[in-house]
Amino acid sequence: MHPPTTLEISSQVIPLMATLMLVVQLLLIAQRMLLTNIRLFAIQSLLLSGIAAVVAFNYNASHVYVVAVLTFIGKVVFLPWLLNRLVHRIQIHQDVEPLLNAPSSMLICAALTLLGYSVTRPFTSLEKLGNNTLAIALALLLTGFFLMINRRKALTQVLALLTVENGVMLAAVALTTYGMPLVVELGIFFDVMVAVMVLGILVYRIRENFDSMDTGKLDQLKG
């Protein structure tokens, strides 16, 4: 059995970190510099892997450690590096221009967070870690979704997609007693990696063909 103290601590820590993830998300939304965005995403992923680690430590569930490690390697190290590289490769430094300005997007995100809470209210989760973590996960997902809508640059959309992914993973880690079965975790992980690579390839090609990454330019297919 686990010493109660750690459990108490972790039951404090996990929601905290989750909330931090949400904060980072909000920063992402407010933030305009592309490179900073990537760093923020890295931080968020770091928090995620941290949560995974804590969960793993709590239940000393070995395969959740694997998740933590994979997340760290993949989302904290590899992807940011890849994206940075891409950014340098296709020299774009000018900041991203959102459709909505920061304050109004903030308001919307607040509303979405509320929605997340209200939706997850009905079922109190399995044990002490879960409940509002789930709400946060949902909030992450919705805000990430909004972020995706709100950004024009192809790369930032990729980032937004990844934050959505983070939200889902948070749910996966926090909600289920011991995370998902390993095979699933692996599958998901590699899918995400491949997805990012495919996206990278497309971004690269788009850059080549359109001399820009502004997806606003991709509106030729109508009707």
């Binding site: 939706v119 009905p122 079922f123 989760s125 399995l126 044990e127 996960a137 997902l141 979704f145 995706m148 192809a154 959309q157 997609l161 959505v164 992914e165 939200g167 889902v168 749910a171 996966a172 909600l175 289920t176 007693t177 011991y178 998902m180 079965p181 095979v183 699933v184 599958g187 998901i188 590699f190 899918d191 491949v194 997805a195 495919v198 996206l199 390839i201 497309l202 090609r205 788009i206 063909n209 359109f210 997806t215 991709l218 509106d219 030729q220 297919l221 009707g223």
Partner: protein, 496 residues
């Protein structure tokens, strides 16, 4: 002996082989070989399923019931026709210099991968793995859509991948919820994530959580299956992809996503059954199915691009299938499954013909193609005409029967408004397709506008294969297949 494993391994190995093979012809041949094999295996699987009920391998990691077997057959047939057609198609493309050998290789590598992914979707027992497989199909098909590396194809691919992976993220969340529900019902141990297991414990799962999960799964897989209003990527991707890929996307890929959705639908129905909101998932399916059916025709009516029109027609048919399943009477579900099959045999023909037209006139815009295609490509036009008749649901083609079955089933279920809506939608899309095709296929060429490089026999084998089997199966279905479909219908209807 193993059945499911080879079904996965054969196309996979062919894909790897194609990385090495030098010549285009060999790659094409390999593709045909692969899917011919899987077709054979599929038929074997059919009998196996009829004999044993459910076929499991790798300690239930792979399992196939009637529904999966049916899907395996569909995938194999469409992929087989596609690889039959692809050889000549890319030969002409390369001759015309619109595509490099590298890209062609990409196609012949990715297509079997695409197939493998779809096979895995229908054979995986584990819902998480199923999700991963769906994502895999999405990723491989994205690259196929972007094959021509033109501006339009890239745009289409981008929209496809963004909407697709976003949707799949939602689907993943839904999947997680389901698993969470499972964990909640058995807090002590790490429960299995197998569909069969979940079905067995369906009654103990938390209905509220499952409802929520289904909402996410529905929006997620629904996006992939192209339900309006999440369908927006569909016409772009289907029209900009090379015609063989369009055929696969329209012929099976949509149905695969629907299959994934159906698994959850069955689970949810089983869980919510008898509860306050029983049939919740059914209502969603019905609503969105009808909405898609109603939305599609208006786009067909004012459509200017051949393949986009075909894509919208696919939207229509998906809506109908969905409605048929949602009506949830054995007859309508059976009709819907049959509809899947007939549609899978019909739509590729149309896309192949569209491919020929595209390669002859170098455009898909109706006004560029102009009237009198029949004077240039008589054979293609005849085959396309037949396929179009089937697509709009005229006898003696099977879609006529399946549509009528669904409609009369709707009446039998006292859903007269549903039936009327279906009829109206079908009528509208009929009008659209009829007048658009009449405009381009019939008539005389404009003077001095007679393309020289018209090849009359392109793709005829593939098309005749499909149309022939369509006609055959419209008037006669082998008893085992019938039995299989009845069992599949029973599974969907929640009475296994």
């Amino acid at each position: 002996m193993l059945l499911l494993t080879p079904i996965l391994l054969v196309p996979l190995s062919v894909a790897l082989l194609c990385l090495l093979v030098p010549s285009r012809r060999v790659m094409a041949a390999l593709g045909v070989l692969a899917f011919a094999t899987t077709l054979g295996l599929g038929i074997a699987l059919l009998h196996e399923v009829l004999a044993r009920g459910v076929v499991r391998e790798w300690s239930e990691f792979l399992s196939a019931d009637a529904l999966s077997a049916w899907m395996v057959l569909l995938i194999s047939v469409v992929s087989l026709a596609t690889s039959l057609y692809a050889g000549r198609y890319f030969e002409r493309d390369m001759a015309a210099g619109v595509i490099t050998m590298g890209r062609v290789r990409e196609f012949f590598v990715l297509t079997p991968l695409f197939g493998t992914g779809m096979f895995l979707v229908v054979l995986a027992n584990n819902l998480g793995v199923m999700w991963a497989a769906v994502e895999g199909t999405a990723l491989s098909s994205v690259l196929l859509v972007a094959l021509y590396n033109r501006r339009n194809s890239l745009e289409a691919a981008w929209k496809y991948v963004i909407l697709g992976s976003l949707g799949l993220a939602l689907a993943l969340l839904g999947t997680v919820f389901v698993y969470a529900a499972a964990c909640k019902s058995h807090p002590d141990s790490l429960p299995s994530f197998n569909w069969s297991y979940l079905m067995s414990v369906a009654r103990q799962l938390d209905p509220l959580q499952l409802k929520l999960a289904f909402v996410f799964v529905f929006v997620g897989y629904g996006t992939k299956a192209g339900f309006a209003p999440m369908h927006t990527w569909l016409p772009d991707a289907h029209s900009e992809a090379p015609s063989p890929t369009s055929a696969m996307l329209s012929g099976v890929s949509l149905k695969i996503a629907l299959y994934a959705l159906l698994r959850f639908h069955i689970l949810t129905t089983a869980c919510l059954d008898g509860g306050p909101d029983a049939g919740f998932s059914g209502h969603l399916l019905l609503g969105f199915g009808l909405f898609s059916m109603l939305l599609a025709p208006s786009f067909i009516l004012v459509q200017r691009n051949l393949k986009r029109m075909l894509a919208y027609s696919s939207l229509e048919h998906m809506g109908l299938i969905c409605t048929g399943i949602a009506l949830n009477s054995p007859l309508t579900i059976f009709g819907a499954l049959l509809h899947m099959g007939y549609h899978a045999l019909t739509k590729p023909v149309l896309f192949f013909a569209a491919g020929n037209i595209h390669q002859t006139f170098h455009s898909l815009e109706f006004r560029v193609i102009g009237p009198g295609v029949g004077k240039v490509l008589p054979v293609t036009v005849v085959l396309m005409g037949l396929a179009a008749l089937s697509a709009v649901g005229l006898p003696p083609f099977g879609l006529f029967f399946s549509e009528l079955t669904i409609i009369s089933g709707g009446l039998a279920a006292h859903q007269i408004t549903v039936s009327v809506v279906i009829l109206v939608a079908l009528l509208a899309s009929f009008c659209g397709i009829l007048q658009q095709l009449t405009r381009i296929l019939l008539g005389a060429r404009k003077p001095g506008d007679h393309p020289t490089d018209a090849r009359r026999s392109d793709g005829v084998p593939a098309m005749t294969l499909l149309l022939g089997s369509l006609l055959l199966f419209s008037v006669w279905l082998p008893a085992p297949l019938l039995e299989l479909m009845h069992q599949a219908a029973a599974i969907i209807g929640g009475k296994p």
